[in-house]
Amino acid sequence: MDSFSGKLAVVTGGGSGMGRELVRQLATQGCSVAACDLNADAVAETAALAREGAPPGVRVSGHACDVADEAQVLRFRDELLAEHSSDHVDLVFSNAGIGGGGSFVNDRREDWERTFAVDWWGVYYCARAFLPLLIASGDGVLVNTSSVNGFWATLGPGMPNTAYCAAKFAVKGFTEALIEDLRTNAPQVRVAVVMPGHVGTDIVANSMRAHGVLPESGPLSDMQLQRRAELIRRGALAEGATADEMRQMLEKMSTDFRDSAPLSAAGAATIILDGVRSGTWRILVGQDAVGLDGFVRAKPEEAYDYALLASMAAQNAGDASRENPGAAAGGRLIP
């Protein structure tokens, strides 16, 4: 695919982050886009932004949809075909994703299953719904967003991420398995799997909204009161914390995640689109993702040896240090 101009793309999770930037950059490059998101206002804003930067003739539509609900995915499909007067789509970016349910041991089963549902079943339902339309395109691409957590199943020491990792491994496995299936049975469609590292997005805030944790303005709902009690029990919030304090804490948590990322959402979207254009099926997003992928492939048994990984990260950071992490500790005085 040399150019996106004149095509029609579907982007899930288009309300923010990499999804929003994909929509904007596709529109700028002359591609019509149907974007969906859990948050109808956010995706409407994305559509408005994308239209501003788009050449004439490009149509951008925003749709409310929970990809974890197959009925909503099918409704999204029907809406967009009507709105774009099309009988096919050329590109599908299954980008929507949330976090949560990190600990299988401690976290609530509902949170675990909600994360898994969005991150895995969302990708699956979209593939089911849109594959026939990609086949109808004659030159379709299905782009599924996995993660570094699709090949490396932790966030680091003391930070398990079980629901997200299980779903992202599934996305990667499914997408890779489609390579041969499509080659044999639908050669007019190809797939790509996207594996971002730490990208500056609002996934933390959006995940909290999706799990009903993040209080908007006004009094706390019953569910949020329950969440607050839980946060207090776990020691994440002080005894007697107000709704406002809970909001402040969660918002700060989210902005810190976004602002400390080495790569912006816009930078990530550019890497993804370059990858799709070039025809590759493996799209690693960010130096951290590239480094981690190399390490895990070279030393699969050491994937969860954080000390070894640390030395890899240091080298990727372009550090002058030649510290050998295998060396013994100690050393008395180094002048």
């Binding site: 994440a236 948590m253 080495p262 954080y306 000390a307 640390a310 240091a314 950071a317 510290e323």
Partner: protein, 273 residues
């Protein structure tokens, strides 16, 4: 103890204290404490350091008399608090000493505000995962296991873990429990500090221009001692002093050695002062 002063950092009031401010020829030394301790947590090392420096003791946000953030904080916020304190106290430039989590804040301060940092001392600290060695697994498990314990029991377990085994340990644990017991922090701020430390990634160490001294206990169970070497190797021109057999709270375990290392390094920068 001298008077508590306050600086405003965003919405929060940050408490600090100046000691020996009348000795105008002595250089300023700002001291940033680590997880779980307020400015009283420096213990016996203070007496020794105030012979050489005018001290600025900061209560980290959520500790001592500083306001409590809503339950989430980042190392960069702690560095910002120190800048607010320096501004409030009218100090343009100071030596900066940070221990453990406070050492991360000190790194961040030296990276983001090089004009405020004269000499830098990083004690028992790390550039943070994934750029440094992670917290030893036993301490990670201890953090997880103590989350459900009564606050005092949890503090005692962490205090024991932060001191190297030896005949002095029971007495030091008693004194540190007293220090922490006078103004006990709530669990939320402790866990916010733990999260801040686990999320800190000091990827720009090579940008530090301050003359730097790195101190580390060879038997530190909380911050892998190999991180001392990493810091010293990555910060241009940095010096490393390790204290064999000492634990994480080496300024309690060997206050003489600690103060001597700090003073000789920092004062060596300014002959005649």
């Amino acid at each position: 103890m001298s008077r508590t002063r306050y600086a405003r950092s965003g919405a929060l009031r940050i408490a600090y204290e100046l000691r020996g401010a009348m000795h105008r020829r002595r250089p300023w030394l700002v001291m940033i404490q680590g997880m779980g301790l307020d400015r009283q947590g420096w213990g016996p090392v203070l007496r020794r350091l105030r012979r050489h420096f005018r001290l600025v003791l900061v209560d980290n946000r959520g500790f001592g008399q500083s306001d409590r953030p809503a339950g989430w904080l980042a190392v960069a916020d702690m560095a910002g608090d120190v800048v607010a304190v320096l501004d409030a106290a009218g100090i343009r430039r100071a030596h900066v000493l940070g221990a453990s989590l406070g050492g991360m804040a000190a790194q961040e301060l030296a990276i983001r505000h090089p004009e405020r940092v004269d000499g830098l001392v990083l004690a028992c600290t790390t550039p943070g995962w994934p750029f440094g060695y992670p917290m030893p697994a036993a301490s990670v498990r201890l953090l997880a296991a103590t989350a459900g314990l009564p606050a005092e029991t949890a503090r005692r377990r962490h205090t024991e873990n932060a001191l190297a085994a030896g005949p002095d340990r029971p007495a030091l644990v008693r004194r540190l429990m007293e220090v922490q017991g006078s103004r006990p922090p709530d669990r939320a701020i402790l866990s916010a500090q733990a999260v801040a430390g686990s999320r800190y990634a000091g990827r720009f160490l090579a940008r530090i221009r301050a003359r730097t001294l790195v101190l580390h206990g060879g038997a530190d169970a909380v911050v892998d001692p190999r991180n001392g070497r990493l810091l010293a190797a990555r910060i241009p021109g940095a010096r490393l002093v390790t204290f064999p057999g000492r634990g994480h709270l080496l300024f309690w375990e060997d206050p003489d050695g600690f103060a001597a290392a700090v003073a000789s390094f920092l004062l060596g920068l300014r002959p005649g002062s």
